[in-house]
Symmetry: C2
Subunit: 391 residues, 2 copies
């Protein structure tokens, strides 16, 4: 097959709020190759990722992603890997290229899976997909009472694992943080899996983060996520040496395989969290999953958007039975829900199952997408470089 | 002062060729604060960096750079650092933000220097600026004879240091590479400083790169630049253990301080090459220079564009006397030359001197810029988000 078209659909809620909710907009990608249609999704900043697809070439190692993708062959996983390598070289100096290509790469796997009538996880070499335990991701409340209420709500909704993050954590006193942690534990109950996300609040201050460890241990926290800036591996490594039973987690910002590898090697995280919509797609995510498994680190998806992104993000570790936890969009905005007909609702055991269907196993909803379309037009030298397609 | 306006000027040659010449286009930034004007330049992909300035917010940690900059106070270096930290947090998920902010940050230093009537290197804490030895950067020829001719031309033009890179290197046989290396040495003469740039051609293949070491040593190569993908620190470290007298160089793609730090700590490079137009500007570049100096690593600018970018890129290590080499745009395209009235031509000793003038010490040329202006218009939901300003 050869790649005939790549179309971007920028979807958004009518109003985007200044809160840590990544489901407020989306950049959906449709790839067609010899009549087969595949879908993917880029994480974060739709307009900028579209611009990286169509931008004029700056020089030989700074080309628009379009030039590396359109018209190329796609007959096997090796073709996808070759295209990813070409993006790395020919778009070397185009920083946003990794985000743009991520959604395209997912769609290429979807195309290939549909063509071969096989789920993507099979193309990746897995014989079967194991169920995952979803965790409900939410912000800390403004007060411990709110945190308790939020966690209780998640538990009542059937979640056995809950993540609290951002909000006031790390911004007030140690006592405030402790009170929130105890409230979270009370909310999810004695047996719930509790995960804490610091949202990079301590930047590189190992001592400030280390002061929280005893309190995190007190409430039996499984992981302590992103205490520091994503690239501050030395700080992660220093904290990991002091964090006892609480393991560090991170990696969502990885925009290539090596960043994930380094957070494992140098940052000593116990959980590596990969967003397929940023790391360059499913191929490099699978490589990160393999690397994690070989090094005693648990792989987890990072997904705060749609069920298309969720289906894609589960593929790279679908066959790793002991890597159990998955991030699950707990209360997404309607745009993230309506765009697809397929939804991965937890089963009777409260577990999430990757569809045993061709490709990513997702049926998109043109009608659902149409409601949220954001028309974009980009012109350079008076010539239209990009105009949003209709769906 | 408060930041009143940030304007982008996208300049380009009429035709951009598919060659490794980074001087074919430019994104120049003008910042005004209380009537003081400062200038900076973002490296690579002007349209995408403009999009990152104006893009609609995706969520609280994915805001347009504009929202973090416009209207903010700028009275001291600490204000610039605070703004950089805010970009890191509030644009955390906007990959291109680092490139966009880099040019703005340079312009902020320029504003502050002009306001205080001091060169930027003084604001950075340096008492004086030492002259640098420029190297002429060029591509390997298609044949060894062409490589020889190119290097001889640079020597005849007065350059005591030459860098050859890209082209056929690493793509053919070991013998081909050896022939090119000997031709380069012959061209620059016995005493010239020879630098070799592999342009990431070996990706992660340590063995393939290691096979070149003996030949690099034979011709007395000072550094071996970017043998691998920018983020493949483990490969750099493995090669460094085998590279003998030839030191590794890299770091141009660093888009935050930590990437530079890690290439030093884990990649064991002997030269760290920083592009102020990518790493987030002059502040993080200065931090990289300090870190390099403390760890016995030599700092070098990466500059393949204009003399505005050159003046900015010399500031972070202007006061480090023993860090002697600087990259110098040897044969830039006219757009990169015409945009400024100021040019740093080598002095009688063949050395380059940072201007002892307020700010970055560069006078821009409105007339020169006007010839290369690329008008851009971006509209979202029918509303114009960006339209190129006139100059």
């Amino acid at each position: 097959m050869s790649i005939d078209s790549v179309d971007f659909f920028y979807l958004s809620m009518p109003k985007v709020e200044d809160i840590g909710d990544g489901s407020q907009d989306a950049l959906v990608v449709r790839v067609t190759a010899d009549g087969v249609e595949g879908w993917g999704e880029c994480e974060a900043s739709p307009l900028v990722s579209i611009a990286a697809f169509v931008t004029p070439m700056s020089h030989g190692a700074c080309k628009p992603v379009r030039d590396v993708v359109l018209g190329k062959r796609i007959d096997s996983p090796a073709d996808i890997a070759a295209m990813a390598a070409a993006v790395e070289m020919e778009c070397m100096d185009l920083l946003q290229a990794a985000h743009t290509f991520s959604g395209i790469e997912m769609a290429l796997w979807d195309v290939l899976g549909r063509k071969r009538n096989a789920p993507v996880y099979e193309l990746l070499g897995y014989k079967k997909a194991y169920p995952k335990l979803p965790y409900a991701s939410q912000l800390f409340g403004d007060t411990p009472a709110e945190t308790l209420a939020g966690c209780r709500k998640a538990r009542d909704a059937g979640y056995r694992a809950v993540k609290c993050g951002w909000g006031p954590f790390g911004r007030g006193s140690l006592k405030d943080d402790r009170d929130h942690l105890h409230a979270a534990r009370e909310g999810i109950g004695k047996d719930g899996t509790l995960l804490i996300d610091a949202g990079q609040i301590f930047r590189e201050d190992v001592e400030a983060a280390a002061q929280r460890i005893a309190h995190l241990e007190d409430v039996n926290t499984v992981w302590f996520e992103e205490p520091f800036l994503g690239g501050a591996y030395a700080a992660y490594g220093a904290l990991a040496a002091k964090s006892g039973k609480v393991k560090l987690a991170g990696g969502e910002a990885s925009h290539n395989f090596h960043m994930a590898q380094q957070l494992i090697d140098y940052g000593k995280v116990g959980f590596i969290q990969i967003d397929c919509g940023r790391i360059g797609g499913i191929g490099p995510a699978k490589r990160a999953a393999d690397y994690a498994a070989q090094h005693g680190v648990t792989y987890v998806n990072h997904t705060f958007t749609s069920h298309l992104a969720l289906c894609a993000s589960l593929q790279p570790y679908a066959g790793l039975e002991s890597h159990r936890i998955c991030e699950y969009p707990f209360a997404p905005k309607s745009v993230a829900w309506d765009m697809s007909e397929t939804h991965l609702t937890p089963d009777a055991n409260g577990e999430v199952n990757v569809p045993a269907a061709p490709g990513l196993g997702v049926t998109m909803s043109a009608e659902g997408m149409r409601k949220y379309m954001v028309p974009v037009e980009i012109s350079v030298k008076g010539k239209t470089l990009y105009k949003s397609p209709a769906i």
